[in-house]
Protein backbone atom coordinates (compact mmCIF):
# COMPACT_ATOMS: atom_id res chain seq x y z
CA UNK A 1 0.00 0.00 0.00
CA UNK A 2 2.71 2.38 1.07
CA UNK A 3 4.81 1.53 -1.94
CA UNK A 4 1.99 2.11 -4.39
CA UNK A 5 1.30 5.49 -2.79
CA UNK A 6 4.97 6.36 -3.19
CA UNK A 7 4.84 5.29 -6.80
CA UNK A 8 1.73 7.35 -7.42
CA UNK A 9 3.40 10.45 -5.98
CA UNK A 10 6.52 9.80 -8.02
CA UNK A 11 4.51 9.63 -11.24
CA UNK A 12 2.71 12.88 -10.35
CA UNK A 13 6.02 14.59 -9.62
CA UNK A 14 7.51 13.37 -12.89
CA UNK A 15 4.48 14.59 -14.84
CA UNK A 16 4.68 18.06 -13.29
CA UNK A 17 8.47 18.40 -13.23
CA UNK A 18 9.09 19.77 -16.76
CA UNK A 19 6.29 22.35 -16.51
CA UNK A 20 7.44 23.41 -13.05
CA UNK A 21 11.02 23.79 -14.22
CA UNK A 22 9.86 25.86 -17.20
CA UNK A 23 7.62 28.11 -15.11
CA UNK A 24 10.33 28.68 -12.50
CA UNK A 25 13.23 29.32 -14.89
CA UNK A 26 11.39 31.34 -17.55
CA UNK A 27 8.59 33.05 -15.61
CA UNK A 28 9.37 33.32 -11.88
CA UNK A 29 13.14 33.92 -12.12
CA UNK A 30 12.86 36.53 -14.90
CA UNK A 31 10.19 38.32 -12.92
CA UNK A 32 12.38 38.30 -9.80
CA UNK A 33 15.27 39.55 -11.96
CA UNK A 34 13.40 42.61 -13.25
CA UNK A 35 12.00 43.26 -9.75
CA UNK A 36 15.60 43.35 -8.45
CA UNK A 37 16.76 45.46 -11.40
CA UNK A 38 13.97 47.95 -10.85
CA UNK A 39 15.42 48.97 -7.48
CA UNK A 40 18.95 49.15 -8.91
CA UNK A 41 20.92 51.84 -10.73
CA UNK A 42 22.07 52.25 -14.30
CA UNK A 43 25.74 51.43 -14.75
CA UNK A 44 27.70 54.24 -16.49
CA UNK A 45 28.14 52.15 -19.66
CA UNK A 46 24.52 50.97 -19.60
CA UNK A 47 23.10 47.85 -18.02
CA UNK A 48 22.73 47.33 -14.29
CA UNK A 49 24.51 48.25 -11.08
CA UNK A 50 23.37 46.81 -7.76
CA UNK A 51 21.62 49.23 -5.43
CA UNK A 52 18.52 49.58 -3.32
CA UNK A 53 16.73 52.72 -4.41
CA UNK A 54 13.30 53.73 -5.56
CA UNK A 55 14.80 56.38 -7.81
CA UNK A 56 13.67 54.44 -10.92
CA UNK A 57 10.07 54.45 -9.76
CA UNK A 58 10.31 58.13 -8.78
CA UNK A 59 11.55 58.75 -12.33
CA UNK A 60 8.45 57.19 -13.94
CA UNK A 61 6.95 60.62 -14.82
CA UNK A 62 9.82 60.98 -17.33
CA UNK A 63 7.90 58.52 -19.48
CA UNK A 64 4.50 59.97 -18.62
CA UNK A 65 3.60 60.44 -22.30
CA UNK A 66 3.95 56.72 -23.00
CA UNK A 67 1.80 55.89 -19.97
CA UNK A 68 -0.71 58.58 -20.89
CA UNK A 69 -0.99 57.37 -24.51
CA UNK A 70 -1.39 53.76 -23.40
CA UNK A 71 -3.89 54.52 -20.67
CA UNK A 72 -6.00 56.63 -23.06
CA UNK A 73 -5.67 54.66 -26.29
CA UNK A 74 -5.98 51.16 -24.78
CA UNK A 75 -9.46 51.77 -23.28
CA UNK A 76 -10.46 53.92 -26.26
CA UNK A 77 -9.27 51.18 -28.62
CA UNK A 78 -11.10 48.48 -26.68
CA UNK A 79 -14.26 50.65 -26.72
CA UNK A 80 -14.02 51.33 -30.47
CA UNK A 81 -13.44 47.61 -30.98
CA UNK A 82 -16.54 46.86 -28.93
CA UNK A 83 -18.72 49.30 -30.89
CA UNK A 84 -17.73 47.63 -34.17
CA UNK A 85 -17.79 44.09 -32.79
CA UNK A 86 -21.18 44.13 -31.08
CA UNK A 87 -23.38 44.53 -34.19
CA UNK A 88 -21.31 41.88 -35.99
CA UNK A 89 -21.60 39.41 -33.10
CA UNK A 90 -25.32 40.23 -32.84
CA UNK A 91 -25.87 39.59 -36.53
CA UNK A 92 -23.89 36.33 -36.46
CA UNK A 93 -25.62 34.98 -33.36
CA UNK A 94 -29.21 36.09 -33.90
CA UNK A 95 -29.80 37.18 -37.49
CA UNK A 96 -27.51 35.23 -39.84
CA UNK A 97 -28.99 32.16 -41.58
CA UNK A 98 -28.00 28.98 -39.73
CA UNK A 99 -25.95 27.46 -42.52
CA UNK A 100 -23.92 30.66 -42.97
CA UNK A 101 -23.12 31.06 -39.30
CA UNK A 102 -20.07 28.79 -39.03
CA UNK A 103 -18.62 29.98 -42.33
CA UNK A 104 -18.94 33.63 -41.30
CA UNK A 105 -17.42 32.82 -37.92
CA UNK A 106 -14.45 31.12 -39.61
CA UNK A 107 -14.05 34.18 -41.85
CA UNK A 108 -13.83 36.34 -38.71
CA UNK A 109 -11.11 34.13 -37.21
CA UNK A 110 -8.90 33.57 -40.28
CA UNK A 111 -7.39 37.09 -40.48
CA UNK A 112 -6.49 36.77 -36.82
CA UNK A 113 -4.20 33.85 -37.59
CA UNK A 114 -2.30 35.60 -40.36
CA UNK A 115 0.71 37.77 -39.62
CA UNK A 116 -0.35 40.91 -37.73
CA UNK A 117 2.89 42.47 -38.93
CA UNK A 118 1.96 42.12 -42.61
CA UNK A 119 -1.64 43.20 -42.10
CA UNK A 120 -0.57 46.29 -40.19
CA UNK A 121 1.97 46.99 -42.90
CA UNK A 122 -0.87 46.92 -45.43
CA UNK A 123 -2.57 49.65 -43.39
CA UNK A 124 0.65 51.70 -43.55
CA UNK A 125 0.17 51.62 -47.30
CA UNK A 126 -3.57 52.33 -47.25
CA UNK A 127 -3.23 55.27 -44.87
CA UNK A 128 0.09 56.46 -46.29
CA UNK A 129 0.71 59.02 -49.02
CA UNK A 130 -0.22 56.74 -51.95
CA UNK A 131 -3.33 55.31 -50.33
CA UNK A 132 -6.46 57.09 -49.15
CA UNK A 133 -4.87 60.60 -49.12
CA UNK A 134 -3.98 60.16 -52.84
CA UNK A 135 -7.57 59.14 -53.61
CA UNK A 136 -8.92 62.09 -51.66
CA UNK A 137 -6.59 64.43 -53.55
CA UNK A 138 -8.50 63.49 -56.74
CA UNK A 139 -11.70 64.88 -55.28
CA UNK A 140 -9.95 67.99 -54.09
CA UNK A 141 -9.14 67.23 -50.47
CA UNK A 142 -5.44 67.96 -50.27
CA UNK A 143 -2.79 67.49 -47.61
CA UNK A 144 -4.68 65.13 -45.39
CA UNK A 145 -2.39 63.26 -43.07
CA UNK A 146 -3.76 59.96 -41.78
CA UNK A 147 -0.72 57.88 -40.91
CA UNK A 148 1.22 58.59 -37.69
CA UNK A 149 -1.83 59.99 -35.94
CA UNK A 150 -3.70 58.64 -32.89
CA UNK A 151 -6.58 57.90 -35.29
CA UNK A 152 -4.37 55.57 -37.35
CA UNK A 153 -3.26 53.74 -34.20
CA UNK A 154 -6.90 53.42 -33.11
CA UNK A 155 -7.83 52.01 -36.51
CA UNK A 156 -4.97 49.52 -36.34
CA UNK A 157 -6.14 48.46 -32.89
CA UNK A 158 -9.73 47.90 -34.02
CA UNK A 159 -8.43 46.00 -37.03
CA UNK A 160 -6.02 43.79 -35.09
CA UNK A 161 -8.24 42.95 -32.12
CA UNK A 162 -11.71 42.81 -33.68
CA UNK A 163 -11.90 38.98 -33.82
CA UNK A 164 -10.93 38.72 -30.14
CA UNK A 165 -13.81 41.04 -29.24
CA UNK A 166 -16.39 39.44 -31.53
CA UNK A 167 -15.90 35.85 -30.31
CA UNK A 168 -16.80 36.18 -26.59
CA UNK A 169 -19.78 38.43 -27.39
CA UNK A 170 -20.93 35.95 -30.02
CA UNK A 171 -20.71 33.10 -27.50
CA UNK A 172 -22.79 34.95 -24.89
CA UNK A 173 -25.41 35.99 -27.47
CA UNK A 174 -25.56 32.52 -28.95
CA UNK A 175 -26.42 31.03 -25.54
CA UNK A 176 -29.20 33.54 -25.06
CA UNK A 177 -32.61 31.98 -24.44
CA UNK A 178 -34.72 33.18 -27.39
CA UNK A 179 -37.93 32.66 -25.42
CA UNK A 180 -36.93 35.64 -23.25
CA UNK A 181 -37.00 37.85 -26.34
CA UNK A 182 -40.45 36.57 -27.30
CA UNK A 183 -41.68 37.00 -23.73
CA UNK A 184 -40.42 40.56 -23.66
CA UNK A 185 -42.17 41.35 -26.95
CA UNK A 186 -45.37 39.62 -25.82
CA UNK A 187 -45.38 41.77 -22.70
CA UNK A 188 -45.49 44.83 -24.91
CA UNK A 189 -41.84 45.91 -24.80
CA UNK A 190 -40.64 47.89 -27.81
CA UNK A 191 -37.78 46.29 -29.79
CA UNK A 192 -35.43 48.88 -28.32
CA UNK A 193 -36.37 48.18 -24.71
CA UNK A 194 -36.21 44.42 -25.39
CA UNK A 195 -32.69 44.95 -26.71
CA UNK A 196 -31.61 47.11 -23.78
CA UNK A 197 -33.39 45.14 -21.07
CA UNK A 198 -32.83 41.58 -22.28
CA UNK A 199 -30.30 41.13 -25.10
CA UNK A 200 -27.69 43.68 -24.08
CA UNK A 201 -28.08 42.86 -20.42
CA UNK A 202 -27.59 39.13 -20.87
CA UNK A 203 -24.62 39.58 -23.18
CA UNK A 204 -22.76 41.84 -20.73
CA UNK A 205 -20.53 39.01 -19.40
CA UNK A 206 -19.33 38.37 -22.97
CA UNK A 207 -18.82 42.09 -23.47
CA UNK A 208 -16.75 42.27 -20.28
CA UNK A 209 -14.64 39.25 -21.28
CA UNK A 210 -13.91 40.72 -24.69
CA UNK A 211 -13.26 44.19 -23.34
CA UNK A 212 -10.83 43.10 -20.62
CA UNK A 213 -9.05 40.65 -22.93
CA UNK A 214 -8.46 43.31 -25.59
CA UNK A 215 -7.57 45.94 -23.01
CA UNK A 216 -4.98 43.70 -21.29
CA UNK A 217 -3.33 42.81 -24.61
CA UNK A 218 -3.34 46.47 -25.68
CA UNK A 219 -1.47 47.57 -22.57
CA UNK A 220 1.58 45.68 -23.87
CA UNK A 221 1.11 46.55 -27.55
CA UNK A 222 4.19 47.52 -29.53
CA UNK A 223 3.80 46.83 -33.26
CA UNK A 224 0.65 48.88 -33.98
CA UNK A 225 1.87 52.17 -32.42
CA UNK A 226 5.31 51.63 -33.97
CA UNK A 227 4.06 51.06 -37.51
CA UNK A 228 0.96 53.28 -37.59
CA UNK A 229 2.00 55.86 -34.98
CA UNK A 230 5.48 56.22 -36.48
CA UNK A 231 7.25 57.44 -33.34
CA UNK A 232 4.66 60.14 -32.73
CA UNK A 233 2.10 58.00 -30.92
CA UNK A 234 4.05 55.64 -28.68
CA UNK A 235 2.96 53.17 -26.02
CA UNK A 236 4.63 51.74 -22.90
CA UNK A 237 5.84 48.89 -25.14
CA UNK A 238 7.76 51.39 -27.25
CA UNK A 239 9.32 52.93 -24.13
CA UNK A 240 10.42 49.44 -23.04
CA UNK A 241 12.01 48.61 -26.39
CA UNK A 242 13.81 51.96 -26.34
CA UNK A 243 15.10 51.53 -22.78
CA UNK A 244 16.24 47.94 -23.23
CA UNK A 245 17.58 47.84 -26.77
CA UNK A 246 18.60 51.43 -27.52
CA UNK A 247 19.43 53.55 -24.47
CA UNK A 248 20.21 50.46 -22.37
CA UNK A 249 18.77 51.84 -19.16
CA UNK A 250 17.76 48.46 -17.79
CA UNK A 251 16.84 49.44 -14.21
CA UNK A 252 14.47 52.17 -15.40
CA UNK A 253 13.01 49.84 -18.03
CA UNK A 254 12.50 47.19 -15.35
CA UNK A 255 10.62 49.67 -13.16
CA UNK A 256 8.35 50.49 -16.12
CA UNK A 257 7.82 46.77 -16.84
CA UNK A 258 6.89 46.07 -13.21
CA UNK A 259 4.49 49.03 -13.28
CA UNK A 260 2.95 47.70 -16.51
CA UNK A 261 2.37 44.29 -14.93
CA UNK A 262 0.81 45.93 -11.85
CA UNK A 263 -1.50 48.02 -14.05
CA UNK A 264 -2.52 44.84 -15.93
CA UNK A 265 -3.27 43.08 -12.64
CA UNK A 266 -5.40 46.02 -11.45
CA UNK A 267 -7.31 46.07 -14.77
CA UNK A 268 -7.93 42.31 -14.47
CA UNK A 269 -9.16 42.59 -10.89
CA UNK A 270 -11.50 45.49 -11.72
CA UNK A 271 -12.84 43.63 -14.78
CA UNK A 272 -13.37 40.53 -12.66
CA UNK A 273 -15.25 42.53 -10.00
CA UNK A 274 -17.50 44.11 -12.62
CA UNK A 275 -18.17 40.74 -14.29
CA UNK A 276 -19.06 39.11 -10.98
CA UNK A 277 -21.39 41.98 -10.12
CA UNK A 278 -23.01 41.79 -13.56
CA UNK A 279 -23.59 38.06 -13.43
CA UNK A 280 -24.71 38.33 -9.77
CA UNK A 281 -27.23 41.02 -10.66
CA UNK A 282 -28.46 38.87 -13.49
CA UNK A 283 -29.09 35.91 -11.23
CA UNK A 284 -31.19 38.01 -8.87
CA UNK A 285 -33.12 39.47 -11.78
CA UNK A 286 -33.96 36.05 -13.18
CA UNK A 287 -35.42 34.80 -9.90
Amino acid sequence: MRRSLFRKNLVTALLLAPATLWLVVFLVLPFVAIAVFSVGERAPEGGYQAALTFAQYANLPARATAFWNTMVLAPAGALACLLVAYPVAYYLALRAPQRWRLILLALIVIPFWTSLLMRTYAWMYILGGRGIPALLAYVGIEDLRLINTPGAVLLGIVYGYLPLMILPIYVSLERLDRRLLEASADLGATPLSTFLGVTLRLSLPGVMTGFSLVMILLLGEYLIPTLLGGGKVFFIGNALVDLFLQSRNWPFGSAIAITLVLVSVVVLIVANRISTRLSGARRVDLI
Binding site: L15, F26, S115, L117, M118
Partner: protein, 270 residues
Protein backbone atom coordinates in the same frame (compact mmCIF):
# COMPACT_ATOMS: atom_id res chain seq x y z
CA UNK B 1 -27.30 45.92 -40.13
CA UNK B 2 -26.35 43.54 -42.90
CA UNK B 3 -24.63 46.38 -44.75
CA UNK B 4 -22.59 47.11 -41.63
CA UNK B 5 -21.53 43.48 -41.30
CA UNK B 6 -20.52 43.37 -44.98
CA UNK B 7 -18.50 46.58 -44.44
CA UNK B 8 -16.70 44.99 -41.48
CA UNK B 9 -15.78 41.96 -43.57
CA UNK B 10 -14.42 44.25 -46.30
CA UNK B 11 -12.45 46.09 -43.60
CA UNK B 12 -11.03 42.78 -42.35
CA UNK B 13 -10.03 41.46 -45.75
CA UNK B 14 -8.97 44.60 -47.64
CA UNK B 15 -5.41 44.69 -46.21
CA UNK B 16 -4.99 40.95 -46.77
CA UNK B 17 -6.15 41.34 -50.38
CA UNK B 18 -3.62 44.16 -50.86
CA UNK B 19 -0.77 42.06 -49.47
CA UNK B 20 -1.63 39.24 -51.86
CA UNK B 21 -2.16 41.61 -54.82
CA UNK B 22 1.24 43.27 -54.43
CA UNK B 23 2.97 39.89 -54.27
CA UNK B 24 2.09 39.64 -58.00
CA UNK B 25 3.47 43.11 -58.74
CA UNK B 26 5.89 43.40 -61.65
CA UNK B 27 7.44 46.59 -60.25
CA UNK B 28 10.09 46.92 -57.61
CA UNK B 29 8.05 48.50 -54.87
CA UNK B 30 5.30 47.21 -52.68
CA UNK B 31 3.52 50.53 -53.12
CA UNK B 32 2.91 50.96 -56.84
CA UNK B 33 1.26 48.26 -58.93
CA UNK B 34 2.78 48.23 -62.41
CA UNK B 35 1.81 44.88 -63.86
CA UNK B 36 1.28 41.20 -63.14
CA UNK B 37 4.22 38.92 -62.47
CA UNK B 38 5.18 35.97 -60.31
CA UNK B 39 8.88 36.85 -60.36
CA UNK B 40 8.89 37.86 -56.68
CA UNK B 41 8.00 34.36 -55.58
CA UNK B 42 11.15 33.09 -57.28
CA UNK B 43 13.22 35.98 -55.90
CA UNK B 44 11.88 35.46 -52.39
CA UNK B 45 12.73 31.77 -52.43
CA UNK B 46 16.25 32.46 -53.70
CA UNK B 47 17.00 35.22 -51.19
CA UNK B 48 19.31 33.43 -48.71
CA UNK B 49 18.55 35.77 -45.79
CA UNK B 50 14.81 35.45 -46.24
CA UNK B 51 14.98 31.67 -46.60
CA UNK B 52 17.23 31.46 -43.55
CA UNK B 53 14.72 33.52 -41.53
CA UNK B 54 11.87 31.32 -42.73
CA UNK B 55 13.77 28.14 -41.83
CA UNK B 56 14.63 29.53 -38.39
CA UNK B 57 11.00 30.41 -37.77
CA UNK B 58 9.82 26.96 -38.86
CA UNK B 59 12.43 25.24 -36.68
CA UNK B 60 11.69 27.40 -33.62
CA UNK B 61 7.92 27.10 -34.01
CA UNK B 62 8.06 23.31 -34.46
CA UNK B 63 10.41 22.71 -31.54
CA UNK B 64 8.68 25.04 -29.09
CA UNK B 65 5.24 23.70 -30.03
CA UNK B 66 6.41 20.08 -29.66
CA UNK B 67 7.98 20.74 -26.26
CA UNK B 68 4.93 22.71 -25.18
CA UNK B 69 2.56 19.92 -26.30
CA UNK B 70 4.59 17.27 -24.41
CA UNK B 71 5.18 19.21 -21.18
CA UNK B 72 1.75 20.84 -21.24
CA UNK B 73 -0.05 17.52 -21.64
CA UNK B 74 2.06 15.94 -18.89
CA UNK B 75 1.28 18.90 -16.64
CA UNK B 76 -2.45 18.70 -17.36
CA UNK B 77 -2.40 14.99 -16.46
CA UNK B 78 -0.33 15.66 -13.34
CA UNK B 79 -2.65 18.44 -12.19
CA UNK B 80 -5.51 15.91 -12.06
CA UNK B 81 -3.62 14.10 -9.31
CA UNK B 82 -2.68 16.91 -6.93
CA UNK B 83 -4.41 18.73 -4.07
CA UNK B 84 -6.41 21.92 -4.34
CA UNK B 85 -3.58 24.18 -3.17
CA UNK B 86 -0.94 22.90 -5.58
CA UNK B 87 -3.50 23.18 -8.33
CA UNK B 88 -4.36 26.76 -7.47
CA UNK B 89 -0.66 27.68 -7.44
CA UNK B 90 -0.14 26.10 -10.86
CA UNK B 91 -3.26 27.72 -12.27
CA UNK B 92 -2.05 31.11 -11.08
CA UNK B 93 1.40 30.62 -12.67
CA UNK B 94 -0.08 29.31 -15.92
CA UNK B 95 -2.54 32.22 -16.00
CA UNK B 96 0.34 34.63 -15.46
CA UNK B 97 2.29 33.03 -18.31
CA UNK B 98 -0.68 33.74 -20.59
CA UNK B 99 -1.65 37.20 -19.32
CA UNK B 100 1.72 38.92 -18.79
CA UNK B 101 2.34 41.08 -21.89
CA UNK B 102 4.74 39.59 -24.45
CA UNK B 103 6.96 42.65 -24.21
CA UNK B 104 7.46 42.02 -20.47
CA UNK B 105 8.12 38.30 -21.05
CA UNK B 106 10.70 39.33 -23.64
CA UNK B 107 12.61 41.83 -21.51
CA UNK B 108 12.48 39.82 -18.29
CA UNK B 109 13.78 36.71 -20.07
CA UNK B 110 16.51 38.82 -21.65
CA UNK B 111 17.55 40.30 -18.30
CA UNK B 112 17.49 36.94 -16.49
CA UNK B 113 19.42 35.08 -19.21
CA UNK B 114 22.08 37.76 -19.59
CA UNK B 115 22.70 37.63 -15.82
CA UNK B 116 22.72 33.84 -15.86
CA UNK B 117 25.17 33.67 -18.76
CA UNK B 118 27.44 36.20 -17.01
CA UNK B 119 27.77 33.72 -14.14
CA UNK B 120 27.74 30.45 -16.05
CA UNK B 121 30.11 31.29 -18.91
CA UNK B 122 33.22 32.14 -16.80
CA UNK B 123 32.45 29.07 -14.70
CA UNK B 124 32.33 26.87 -17.80
CA UNK B 125 35.51 28.48 -19.07
CA UNK B 126 37.34 27.72 -15.82
CA UNK B 127 36.30 24.07 -15.99
CA UNK B 128 36.94 23.54 -19.69
CA UNK B 129 40.29 21.90 -20.49
CA UNK B 130 40.92 23.60 -23.86
CA UNK B 131 41.02 27.25 -24.94
CA UNK B 132 37.61 27.25 -26.58
CA UNK B 133 35.00 26.60 -23.92
CA UNK B 134 31.34 26.42 -24.97
CA UNK B 135 29.66 29.80 -24.48
CA UNK B 136 25.99 29.99 -23.71
CA UNK B 137 24.33 32.84 -25.58
CA UNK B 138 20.97 34.08 -26.78
CA UNK B 139 19.67 32.31 -29.86
CA UNK B 140 17.50 29.38 -30.80
CA UNK B 141 17.35 28.06 -27.24
CA UNK B 142 16.17 31.29 -25.65
CA UNK B 143 13.49 31.94 -28.30
CA UNK B 144 12.21 28.36 -28.05
CA UNK B 145 12.05 28.54 -24.26
CA UNK B 146 10.34 31.95 -24.17
CA UNK B 147 7.77 30.98 -26.81
CA UNK B 148 7.29 27.61 -25.17
CA UNK B 149 6.35 29.22 -21.86
CA UNK B 150 3.19 30.77 -23.30
CA UNK B 151 2.46 27.74 -25.48
CA UNK B 152 2.87 25.27 -22.65
CA UNK B 153 0.43 27.22 -20.48
CA UNK B 154 -2.00 27.25 -23.42
CA UNK B 155 -1.70 23.48 -24.01
CA UNK B 156 -2.10 22.75 -20.28
CA UNK B 157 -5.35 24.74 -20.23
CA UNK B 158 -6.78 23.21 -23.42
CA UNK B 159 -5.90 19.63 -22.45
CA UNK B 160 -7.01 20.28 -18.85
CA UNK B 161 -10.45 21.37 -20.07
CA UNK B 162 -10.72 18.22 -22.16
CA UNK B 163 -9.60 16.02 -19.24
CA UNK B 164 -12.19 17.49 -16.89
CA UNK B 165 -14.95 16.51 -19.31
CA UNK B 166 -13.54 12.99 -19.66
CA UNK B 167 -15.90 10.18 -18.67
CA UNK B 168 -14.46 8.78 -15.38
CA UNK B 169 -16.60 5.66 -15.67
CA UNK B 170 -14.55 4.48 -18.61
CA UNK B 171 -11.33 4.81 -16.63
CA UNK B 172 -12.84 2.93 -13.69
CA UNK B 173 -14.30 0.25 -15.93
CA UNK B 174 -10.90 -0.21 -17.53
CA UNK B 175 -9.11 -0.72 -14.21
CA UNK B 176 -11.94 -3.00 -12.96
CA UNK B 177 -11.21 -5.15 -16.00
CA UNK B 178 -7.61 -5.46 -14.77
CA UNK B 179 -6.01 -3.12 -17.25
CA UNK B 180 -2.73 -1.70 -15.96
CA UNK B 181 -2.71 2.08 -15.46
CA UNK B 182 -0.51 2.40 -18.53
CA UNK B 183 -2.90 0.35 -20.69
CA UNK B 184 -5.85 2.40 -19.43
CA UNK B 185 -3.98 5.57 -20.30
CA UNK B 186 -3.04 4.35 -23.76
CA UNK B 187 -6.40 2.95 -24.78
CA UNK B 188 -8.89 5.19 -22.91
CA UNK B 189 -7.38 8.55 -21.93
CA UNK B 190 -4.94 9.25 -24.75
CA UNK B 191 -7.39 8.78 -27.67
CA UNK B 192 -9.83 11.15 -25.97
CA UNK B 193 -7.38 13.95 -25.29
CA UNK B 194 -5.45 13.60 -28.55
CA UNK B 195 -7.56 16.13 -30.51
CA UNK B 196 -6.95 18.71 -27.75
CA UNK B 197 -3.20 17.96 -27.77
CA UNK B 198 -2.98 18.35 -31.54
CA UNK B 199 -5.09 21.53 -31.51
CA UNK B 200 -2.83 22.88 -28.74
CA UNK B 201 0.25 22.03 -30.79
CA UNK B 202 -1.10 23.83 -33.85
CA UNK B 203 -2.11 26.92 -31.87
CA UNK B 204 1.33 26.94 -30.23
CA UNK B 205 2.96 26.64 -33.64
CA UNK B 206 1.04 29.56 -35.15
CA UNK B 207 1.70 31.69 -32.06
CA UNK B 208 5.44 31.08 -32.18
CA UNK B 209 5.61 31.48 -35.94
CA UNK B 210 3.86 34.86 -35.81
CA UNK B 211 5.44 36.27 -32.65
CA UNK B 212 7.60 39.32 -33.10
CA UNK B 213 8.00 41.05 -29.77
CA UNK B 214 9.33 38.20 -27.61
CA UNK B 215 11.78 37.03 -30.27
CA UNK B 216 12.87 40.65 -30.85
CA UNK B 217 14.35 40.72 -27.33
CA UNK B 218 15.74 37.22 -26.90
CA UNK B 219 16.82 36.34 -30.46
CA UNK B 220 20.44 37.45 -29.99
CA UNK B 221 22.10 37.16 -33.39
CA UNK B 222 19.36 34.96 -34.89
CA UNK B 223 16.70 36.21 -37.28
CA UNK B 224 13.15 34.93 -37.41
CA UNK B 225 10.71 35.71 -40.21
CA UNK B 226 8.78 38.41 -38.29
CA UNK B 227 12.08 40.04 -37.28
CA UNK B 228 13.20 40.03 -40.92
CA UNK B 229 9.87 41.47 -42.08
CA UNK B 230 10.00 44.16 -39.39
CA UNK B 231 13.51 45.13 -40.42
CA UNK B 232 12.53 45.31 -44.08
CA UNK B 233 9.49 47.47 -43.30
CA UNK B 234 12.01 49.90 -41.85
CA UNK B 235 14.17 49.71 -45.00
CA UNK B 236 11.35 49.71 -47.54
CA UNK B 237 9.51 46.59 -48.54
CA UNK B 238 9.98 44.81 -51.86
CA UNK B 239 7.22 42.49 -53.13
CA UNK B 240 9.44 39.61 -51.96
CA UNK B 241 8.04 40.12 -48.48
CA UNK B 242 4.51 40.09 -49.91
CA UNK B 243 5.26 36.84 -51.69
CA UNK B 244 6.53 35.17 -48.51
CA UNK B 245 3.58 36.60 -46.58
CA UNK B 246 1.18 35.14 -49.15
CA UNK B 247 2.81 31.72 -48.92
CA UNK B 248 2.71 31.88 -45.11
CA UNK B 249 -0.90 33.07 -45.20
CA UNK B 250 -2.02 30.09 -47.25
CA UNK B 251 -0.05 27.73 -45.01
CA UNK B 252 -1.44 29.18 -41.77
CA UNK B 253 -5.02 29.15 -43.03
CA UNK B 254 -4.51 25.46 -43.76
CA UNK B 255 -3.02 24.89 -40.30
CA UNK B 256 -5.87 26.71 -38.57
CA UNK B 257 -8.49 24.79 -40.49
CA UNK B 258 -6.67 21.62 -39.41
CA UNK B 259 -6.71 22.79 -35.78
CA UNK B 260 -10.41 23.62 -35.90
CA UNK B 261 -11.15 20.25 -37.43
CA UNK B 262 -9.13 18.46 -34.74
CA UNK B 263 -10.74 20.38 -31.91
CA UNK B 264 -14.21 19.76 -33.30
CA UNK B 265 -13.61 16.08 -33.91
CA UNK B 266 -15.36 13.90 -31.37
CA UNK B 267 -14.26 10.32 -31.09
CA UNK B 268 -17.31 8.08 -30.78
CA UNK B 269 -17.34 6.60 -27.27
CA UNK B 270 -16.56 2.89 -27.31
Amino acid sequence: MRAFVVAVFVFLYLPIALVVLFSFNAGHHASEFTGFSVQWYGKALSNPFLVEALKNSLFIATTSALLAALCGTAAALGLQRVGVRTRALFDALLGAAIVVPGVVIGISTLVALVQLFAVVNPFLASLWPTDQPPRLSLGYGSIIAAHGLFSMALVTMIVGTRLSSLDRNLVEASSDLYATPLTTFRSIVLPQIMPAVIAGFLLAFTFSFDDFIIAFFVAGAQTTLPIYVFASIRRGVTPEINAIATIVLCASVLLVLLAQWQLGRRKPSP
